[in-house]
Symmetry: C2
Subunit: 477 residues, 2 copies
């Protein structure tokens, strides 16, 4: 597909902002001047600026012009503690299960669970592909294969990973039933019950629950809203404890949305390689950068095969197809073994559908639409939270993914907030689920890719009122 003119202009301006030619707070040249500079019409400039405004990169100030907004993460201001926590057993499942159950309740406006709603999937195209698969390949659909995955799918994944800087052959990829299974199989391949796994704090609730279900112990490494896991804190932890593996979401981490810089990724991989410790990399948001860029996964820096790369199509194409994958490096044999004895192999149908979709060459175009939509929605959420939540509320500014992290003011309790929200038929995730400690009890997590039918403004307004009421009660106490 040819890129439209206004998109080219928007990309140019985005590049200038990212390179620092325009800094946060700077005013952009006038529309007229930009049109002259770029040799395009005023309408084209207006459309390009709208595009950048929608994804939250610039903002219009009435009667003044367009300004560069504050960069990612600047809104959440906290010192990342240097000391990791002690290794401990995880015990959050009972509470998590209770909370998720309510998120999925009838008539609940669910801003909690972090799967994009079906409306964001390329359903029409998938429907066409699925119909073709069934028409032409029914034998493959009904027959089980004792293999590590569909060949066309693995070739396409290897190709895309290659474009992201990882040298991987199709034969090195193992297909799973979604990313949680990928993580589970990798954890079984590298550690045993009782072993300690280092992970981000705050981190992905599913990973905490997984570690709990497997009888492992967790050591939480502080995570910064912009840079991700603190390498210094990890280094300290490695010196003190017998850590069997590290598990991270380096790109648009859940819940913080932090994006570990490339030099940190390289340092992390080298640090672990030095100690021969495997790194489980969960890259499920890797394709969801708002600016369309593809940051190198940690896997790209892996020289020893110690990085077990996991991802899935659940946050990008369709969560219901349950297609995930692993590039397990040196652990291919172990991972393949545990995958086989989880459930033999992933169903062929879903693998063929995702394979044909990737192979059609239409994934990138779709991704551009999706990330633009996600960026717009995230910006909308941020703007509404700024408007309706009480002063002192801080909100994350991720540059990709769909998850937003909100720190309530004055240490208001996130679980109490959750309960009040549920009374109003709105679900959020209280921060306490994102750690086995009580360090994030004053936070909540929101999914910006919730059902499009949900009236976001009204929801955030109600949530803001709840926060204000809680704050008043606290002050009056």
């Amino acid at each position: 597909m040819k890129t439209k003119l206004y998109q080219q202009v928007a990309d140019d301006l985005r590049g200038l902002i990212q390179q620092g030619a325009y800094c946060p707070g700077d005013k952009l040249p006038s529309i007229r001047l930009l049109a002259t500079q770029k040799k395009v019409s005023i309408a084209t400039i207006q459309r390009a600026l709208e595009e950048l405004e929608m994804v939250g990169l610039i903002e219009a100030k009435p009667k003044s012009g367009f300004y560069v907004r504050m960069p990612a993460g600047d809104n959440i201001q906290y010192e990342t503690p240097l000391l990791p926590m002690l290794p401990k057993s995880v015990e959050i499942h009972e509470r998590a299960s209770h909370i998720f159950h309510q998120c999925e309740g009838k008539d609940i406006l669910n801003l909690g669970t972090s799967y994009p709603a079906a409306a964001y999937s390329p359903s029409k195209l998938l429907q066409k592909i699925a119909t073709q698969v069934i028409k032409q390949n029914m034998k493959a659909v009904v027959e089980v294969h004792f293999s590590t995955g569909n060949q066309l799918l693995r070739e396409n994944l290897a190709k895309r990973l290659g474009e992201a800087g990882c040298r991987i052959n199709a034969e090195e990829v193992i297909i799973t039933n979604g990313c949680l299974e990928a993580l589970s199989v990798c954890l079984r391949a590298v550690a045993k019950p009782g072993d300690t796994i280092a992970l981000e704090s705050p981190g992905f609730v599913g990973l905490f629950q997984l570690i709990e279900s497997m009888g492992y112990r967790a050591i939480e490494i502080p995570c910064h809203p912009v840079d991700g896991m603190s390498i210094e804190a990890l280094q300290l932890a490695l010196e003190q404890w017998d850590i069997k593996a590290v598990a991270i979401v380096p790109t648009f981490s859940n819940p913080l949305g932090s994006n570990m810089p490339e030099n940190h990724r390289q340092k992390l991989v080298e640090l672990l390689a030095d100690k021969e410790i495997p790194l489980i990399e969960d890259d499920l948001f890797g394709d969801l950068a708002f600016d369309g860029s593809r940051i190198k996964p940690c896997k790209a820096f892996d020289k020893k095969g110690l990085v077990l790369y996991c991802s899935s199509a659940s946050k990008t194409i369709a969560s219901g197809l349950r297609v995930g994958w692993i590039a397990p490096g040196a652990f291919f044999k172990e991972v393949s073994y545990f995958k086989t004895f989880t459930n033999i192999s992933a169903p062929n149908f879903a693998q063929m559908v995702i394979a044909e979709f990737l192979d059609s060459g239409r994934y990138d175009r779709y991704l551009r639409q999706l990330t633009t939509t996600l960026a717009q929605r995230m910006y909308l959420f941020q703007r509404l939270i700024e408007n309706y939540f009480p002063d002192g509320t801080q909100v994350s500014h991720p540059q990709g993914g769909c998850v937003l992290w909100v720190m309530l003011p004055q240490g208001l309790d996130g679980y109490h907030f959750f309960k009040q929200a549920i009374k109003n038929k709105i679900a959020v995730i209280p921060g306490e689920l994102c750690s086995a400690s009580d360090k994030f009890n004053h936070c909540i997590r929101l999914n910006c890719a919730c059902e499009p039918e949900i009236k976001v403004e009204s929801c955030i307004q109600q949530l803001g009122l709840i926060a204000k009421k809680m704050l008043n009660e606290k002050i009056n106490c």
Copy 2:
């Protein structure tokens, strides 16, 4: 669908044989007499007798008439030892993996792995249903659900289980990605690494591998070709060892094909209930009785909720859809927990296809065709083995399923046989994989539901020659 007249006659005769009105070796009345008795044409009687002959229930003796064949299991004659083996770690995976890999090799005529080939699936009907599901329910296909399974599927399964004598609500059923995942999740729910599980000997190779992959220990309970697991031997084992759970395939066990009688099932359930020990029942061949009967699962005798019933559509409808299920009784919470942290939930697409197929009411008709085909194929295999294998070979006579167990004469080695067969591009499973001991090294397992394109007579003839050659070499040594 109306049952055809000849089928009614065949069913009547089958009933008389099963009730003992005609015993093994008895001559049936002449065709003319039967036609008069039943008030039907001679052609109808001939067609009915052909039907019974094809499934191996009767045989024609030239110039004499039709005779009732020997009943199931009579061909394999061995004393079931009363003493169970010692609990031990399982270490068969390396060997099993090497063997299965060769079974799936290029140009190999695979009589080894025990999945029915795609040709036995109701592909046309599934294709129609799948196309409809995609046309009408794409939202459900692309969207993940945090549930224990598709409601229509669970209702249909509960209904069928009800017809088999089990009182189960749809809400008590958990859907999995195939039966191996069901077994894996149940094992995690009832035991911990290091614990001892009692299972059949010889038994299902996948179950041995599963136990190995989970770090459990196995105690093998002798299994009889007709009656299945010896209750007396299990009783002795329970007195001596701390057994955390029992796992069995009571209906058409793999590899023996034995069918535990109802009173044994009841006794087994009561014995375990008395000691509060959970029973994992793998009923995946439960719908595949050649005579269309549905023997009660152990679950039907479960009063305390200690039976975790597992099954799947992989041996009946389509192995590639990877749909299995569990009715976990009192372990619902634990099983649901471990299922969630295996991979959240089973893909919706496959669940909807199986649900619509069962709900269409066409499953029973299809099942009748399938079991007739399987019976014919099994009879063909048995007859060819009798013809081509050396004297002293014994073969199982299961009344359902698709797996045949062959005891080679004079203790010939099954693995050596396997290697010779592979040289001839034919794959079988050596008996050693069906136990963690070396008690079945003189056996092989065959899958009668292999690809229909495989020329069975030529294969068995070649296998027979291999056995004869091995026997000659042994005698001449």
